[in-house]
Symmetry: C2
Subunit: 325 residues, 2 copies
Amino acid sequence: MAKSVNWGILGCGKIAHKFAQDLMKVPDTQLVAVASRSKEKAKDFGRQYGVSNCYGSYEALVNDPTVNACYIATVHPFHKEITMLCLNHRKAVLCEKPMGMDQEEVKAMIQRAKEKDVFLMEGIWTRFIPAVGKMLGLIQSETLGDVRSVHADFGFLGDQDRSNRLFNKSLGGGALLDIGIYPLYLSLLVLGYPEDVEAAAQMTETGVDESCGMILRHRNGAVSSLHCTFMTDTQIEGWIHGSKGSIKLHSRFHHPNKVSIYRGGEIEQTYNIPYIGNGYYHEILHVNECIRLGLKESPKVMLNDSLNLVKMLDEVREKIGLVYE
Amino acid sequence: MAKSVNWGILGCGKIAHKFAQDLMKVPDTQLVAVASRSKEKAKDFGRQYGVSNCYGSYEALVNDPTVNACYIATVHPFHKEITMLCLNHRKAVLCEKPMGMDQEEVKAMIQRAKEKDVFLMEGIWTRFIPAVGKMLGLIQSETLGDVRSVHADFGFLGDQDRSNRLFNKSLGGGALLDIGIYPLYLSLLVLGYPEDVEAAAQMTETGVDESCGMILRHRNGAVSSLHCTFMTDTQIEGWIHGSKGSIKLHSRFHHPNKVSIYRGGEIEQTYNIPYIGNGYYHEILHVNECIRLGLKESPKVMLNDSLNLVKMLDEVREKIGLVYE
């Protein structure tokens, strides 16, 4: 009989709701507990999804024996501390991206997961979007020839109020960690760890990046040209250009429901591949499978991938002078 | 009566043909002479366009009293020398881009034009494409609000034979000077001279850049994300994103015949504005007008614009270690 996967969600923000909504669609799994620093908030959240165990502290949730998988949905600066707490209680952890604020944090988290022999994965949900899988299949089948460039931009004109979390350094604000991670991950997924990274950013008076451009040079001769911003709506498209053709990940490229092949500037074929729910459904399915199989690491988003991703973030941060205390 | 503009073309390559074809369409102007280092080549060229004065040296052409405007269509490393020759003979000069190999060359050329009181303009033909003018009008009319980012890419999968001029350092090869100048010029035109420039390139074994990514940070808070490559076909689109909307310059963005306004990711309006001939027609019309008016500098592509453009090229070259002897 399949092992039951009983989820607890830690943090009750926007992303926790999206995740919970998708969790409801996944068979043979339950949302059994939810925690927030505010018990009221946890209760409100739990009520919406029929969860009985609603806690006013993360410590209470990790002590709940009915929970065996935890989803960390807090703001970035608390990811490490809460993940450590879960791992110490031998709960499998899916930690929202970015896994930690820097590579030191991520290394410590990976180390702890290994010591405790517990499953840990970064919540790079985009990897499990069916159309992204299709893109990888097309690249592997040599549809593009050699990949020579990756272009991706993620920009939206957000609330420009500087008191917003997005601009708050102590809450891990800035475009890079919030949305720049998506174009960077696309580059990592398609081209691997780069040979070098150049970046330039516009910083706010609150000390975070409101726009950041990145150029990655790869060992195999390819170049990635990436951009993220809170200051304007961009196309949010992903392009992979090869020696024989191109792939477009339609907007929004990190969870596309359409992938097109281009040759000579013209569309050759478009695949319509919808995702389910908010797109987290596919990630949840995968994590459940990993847990049921007793894996301690996902074969699709490996711990080393997360380490490489945060190393790229650290390199960009160094170039643009983005420092979190 | 309007002053007659009698053109001479120096250099008989691909671009000289495109220019000559368009010149035939312009009223009240003649192609009266053509020169190449090879007299045979000049004669072949002249025959195609009904030119009687075909010279086997640039010196011979500048001594032809019937010529009053010279178009320099040679490879980049000879632009300065031949432009100086023309200016010394008080011929008006339209010099193909890039005007010189570096800012020292361009400064010297501008200096000479001023000393000799002769018209000089860099052949940034894209500035005169009607759809590019439309784009500027839309930006000036606040259609986009504040401009916050410029994205442009220019990539094509060229002949990969390393003996090709594109990879030949002594002929000014490399993607940056050849095609990277177009996204850089778009950024300069829309956002002005940047505050700083970051770049990364893949260099060939022949010592030139085959791909180059650039990030420009501007004083007004905007970021340009630009890319050029000989290694893959890219979209060759230009995007200007603002606080209230976006403009797309359709492929190929440097001489588009379509400009679209986007709001919230959807096309609001598309303007179909064809250009005439190969697109050089409009530039020729403008230069003729400048010459007839007795101007020594174009009000649309000013000498200082050319100096700023080559300064940007020099900055990128420094970052990527691209050195021409």
